[in-house]
Amino acid sequence: MFAVAMLAILICMALLIARAFTGPTVFDRILAINSFGTKTVLLIAVLGFMTGRPDFLDLALVYALMNFIGTIAVLRFTRYGDLSAFDRVLEAEHHTDPNWP
């Protein structure tokens, strides 16, 4: 029963890798890699149950977290070309705020 889910996850991974390589735009690649991260989370969860030792779900949580951070960083980069250039936009937005540094 877990084998079915595992097989589906592996097939989905293959399809996502194909999309990540053929992706015409940058955003297709980001989309594929973001989904791939979710698939690795699922793979770890299902793998734990397949081997009968579901003790390592901390790892799944770390994967989900790191995947999210990576996606946000990549999107910041594509949008502003720099990880800190976003600050200028924020600064312009807050130029009326006296507390803004």
Partner: protein, 222 residues
């Protein structure tokens, strides 16, 4: 099922590696290396090396991608150089060393072989005695922190030294870099955009040129 998983994950890994080599866009290569890292973390997980998988997931997939992106903002996004030219001498050297390495792996014990030197030298002692000598149920922690405490101290110092080096190179203060890093973003020439904006502003001030400018903008955009 486990064999199928191993084969498929290794296949994905090899495909990703070749894809990264073939890629000219460095930004895409950074993202693909994130994918590579996720895949290798999965493989560590399948091999039951949980602590290694943890480290790989934490460092490789998230933080190293972020640091690479921060570096990429300082450099260019495209790889330079002509890649169709093949240098014969480096190629020969690579093939020679690669075949030597593969020849060397033939002498290595098979994966999971109980007679392998790794499993007969120190590991049984750690497994037997660590509970009585050190305590924690996770043997990796007891080896890392207690039996190999000097090594871990050295690693911590290495991490510390890395920061000292970066502080010396990049300086503690924020540098003044007006907009040169923005110019290479997404292939958008920001200077041209700014020039156009200035023209537009000029056109608002000077209504006689407004018609021409607006027409020019629309022509460029449509």
């Amino acid at each position: 099922m486990t064999e199928l998983m191993d084969v498929l994950l290794f296949l994905f890994l090899v495909i990703t590696a070749f894809g990264i080599i073939r890629m000219r866009d460095l930004f895409a290569a950074v993202m693909m290396s994130g994918l590579f890292s996720l895949l290798s973390a999965c493989l560590f997980m399948v091999m039951d090396a949980v602590d290694v998988a943890f480290t790989e997931a934490a460092v490789g997939a998230g933080i190293s991608t972020v640091l690479m992106l921060a570096t990429l903002a300082i450099t260019k996004r495209e790889e330079r150089g002509d890649r169709r030219r093949v240098e014969p001498l480096p190629l020969l050297l690579c093939f020679a060393i690669g075949s030597l390495l593969i020849y060397g792996t033939l002498d290595m014990p098979a994966y999971g072989d109980p007679e392998a030197p790794v499993h007969t030298y120190m590991a049984p002692r750690f497994i037997e005695k660590s509970k009585a000598e050190v305590g924690p149920p996770n043997i990796v922690t007891s080896v890392l922190a207690s039996y190999r405490g000097y090594d871990t101290f050295g690693e911590t110092t290495v991490v510390f030294t890395a920061l000292v080096g970066v502080l010396l190179l990049l300086g503690g203060r924020l540098r003044l870099r007006p907009s040169s890093t923005m110019d290479i973003t997404m292939g958008v020439d920001l200077r041209a955009v700014k020039r156009r904006q200035a023209e537009r502003r000029q056109a608002v001030v000077d209504p006689s040129a407004a018609g021409d400018d607006a027409a020019g903008d629309n022509g460029g955009a449509a």
